[in-house]
């Protein structure tokens, strides 16, 4: 995986996407082969990678501000108030900084999750279906925001696991399709759409239908057998 690239992994449920992500994060051991990051193997979680979780994974007893500062604090990098404040502003969380997660909407919770991951300035950002637990409108908003944040500071590699083809096309430089037997990579497709992108111009780009069809075809499993007409 080249550095500073945004890689999308798509596949059907139970196809091994999340397993791949968790292995890269160092949460699961590899059965064969190895995961390396910047040349060193990943055997346990590393501070160079940060993860955004599907179900947010926020600490309910910490305020928004404390949740965002969490990574920095456990890694002994001080409270870094400036850094936290900057991220709170970038993700439009300043107004709720002293609230608790239970007082936030799903979209706001995931903004906190994203800010917390970005706060540790990871080399590798892991996104585990980060927008699947929020409503469609919020999802599009968040996709655009993450895209902007990432395009503005293109210092990190990002790996997005999703089952949403459009989301993968919108965000990725390259898409890996996992289908068939679990963990099997069936296709790797570079996405040459120009950056910076927004969901609007990606969807109206002339290449969009072709890319979408290609991905859809490579995802498709054997068609379900319909019952014979009587």
């Amino acid at each position: 995986m080249p550095e500073r690239e945004f890689v999308g992994v798509i596949g059907v449920s139970g196809g091994g996407k999340t397993t791949l992500l968790r292995t890269i994060a160092g949460l699961l051991p590899t059965s064969t082969g190895s995961v390396t990051l910047g040349g060193t193997p990943v055997l346990a979680p590393t501070p160079r990678a940060a993860m955004v979780f599907q179900h947010f994974g926020l600490f309910p007893w910490k305020t928004v501000r404390a949740n965002v500062a969490y990574g920095l604090r456990v890694q002994g990098r001080g409270p870094a108030p400036g850094q936290v404040q900057r991220l709170l502003a970038a993700l439009r969380l300043d107004d709720v900084a002293d609230r608790y997660p239970a007082q936030l909407s799903g979209g706001m919770k995931q903004r906190v999750g994203i800010a917390r991951a970005l706060a540790v300035e990871p080399k590798l950002l892991l996104l585990d279906e980060p927008f699947s637990a929020v409503d469609a409108i919020t999802r599009e908003e968040l996709q655009n925001e993450v895209l902007q944040l990432w395009e503005r500071h293109q210092r990190m590699t990002a790996l997005l696991v999703t089952h949403d083809i459009d989301e993968a096309i919108l965000m990725s430089d390259r898409i890996i399709v996992i289908s068939g037997p679990p963990g099997h990579i069936t296709r790797e497709l570079p996405i040459g759409l120009p950056r910076p992108r927004t969901s609007q111009d990606v969807r109206s780009h002339e290449d969009y239908p072709r890319i979408r069809k290609l991905l859809w075809d490579s995802l498709e499993r054997r068609p379900a057998r319909l019952p014979e007409p009587a």
Binding site: M51, H55, Y70, Y100
Partner: protein, 273 residues
């Protein structure tokens, strides 16, 4: 979805039924006092119809209480019982929380503790009192041990449970951010075990009060237990009720203090609604 909008939507969906609103604090207090007042009035009416030896009445109990405060017997007994209660409750809670936290994190310790704890939790502590007397005598030490045995198990069992119930997703979050085990305790395990620990202590308060009276009955007669026993033996029913009411008030007071402490420690839950 925030908590504030949810009830409104439910109301719109079912306009025929009024949404169940939480009681206002003033209303809740009114209801609490009303139930106590009803009990007192019923006791007063029924008590004055009967022989005072059989039931007595709230006014007679109040008069007896004033007399017992004046002659110093109540304060003295209360002080003696509070020492036993304080020592037994504190040592039981400290031991229960400590062992419970360790057992929650260590499979080995949990396996070692499981059968003895279950067995002792189920054994009536009263049955062990002859043995405790042999080991610790009749005085404060023995009484403290009795209270300790009443207290430690519910705290231990609930604490272990609380540690076990820590959200696995949050443990995963802590691991991806490379949290040390020590930090994981502060950030994650203690906050999520807290409600369970409080439940354990709440149970323990009730059991500790039983333990104090039982200990005072079955070792050297002393404290509030002695007042109850001596008044009952001499058919002074009004005087007998005074220490019983004091024990009940202690239970209510300690539980209220615990709830106050929990609200202070878990502000995030109070504001979540």
């Amino acid at each position: 979805m925030t908590g504030t909008t949810a009830p409104r939507q439910r109301a719109a969906a079912a306009p025929a039924r009024r949404p169940r609103r939480p009681l206002t604090p003033a209303r809740r207090w009114a209801l609490r006092l009303a139930s106590v007042a009803a009990i007192l009035v019923a006791w007063q009416i029924y008590g004055s119809l009967l022989n005072p030896i059989l039931l007595s009445s709230p006014t007679a109990v109040l008069a007896a209480a004033v007399a017992m405060i004046k002659d110093g017997s109540l304060p003295q007994a209360l002080a003696s019982s509070l020492v036993v209660l304080g020592l037994g409750l504190a040592s039981g809670v400290v031991a229960g929380v400590t062992l419970g936290l360790l057992a929650g994190r260590s499979e080995t310790l949990a396996a070692l503790l499981e059968l003895p704890v279950t067995a002792l939790y189920a054994t009536p502590a009263v049955a062990l009192i002859p043995l405790i007397v042999l080991w610790f005598g009749f005085e404060t030490t023995a009484k403290t041990v009795v209270v300790f045995l009443f207290v430690v198990f519910p705290v231990l069992v609930n604490t272990t449970r609380g540690v076990r119930e820590t959200d696995p997703e949050l443990i995963e979050v802590a691991r991806t951010f490379c949290s040390s085990e020590r930090r994981m305790w502060a950030d994650l395990i203690l906050p999520s075990a807290l409600p369970f620990i409080v439940t354990g202590i709440r149970l323990a308060i009730g059991r500790a009060l039983i333990g104090v009276i039982v200990a005072e009955y079955y070792t050297a007669l002393s404290g509030l237990g002695e007042l109850i026993a001596r008044s009952a033996n001499s058919f002074q029913t009004a005087r007998m009720f005074v220490p019983i009411v004091v024990v009940a008030l202690l239970g209510v007071g300690l539980t209220a203090a615990l709830e106050w402490a929990e609200r202070r420690l878990a502000r995030w839950r109070a504001t979540a609604a």
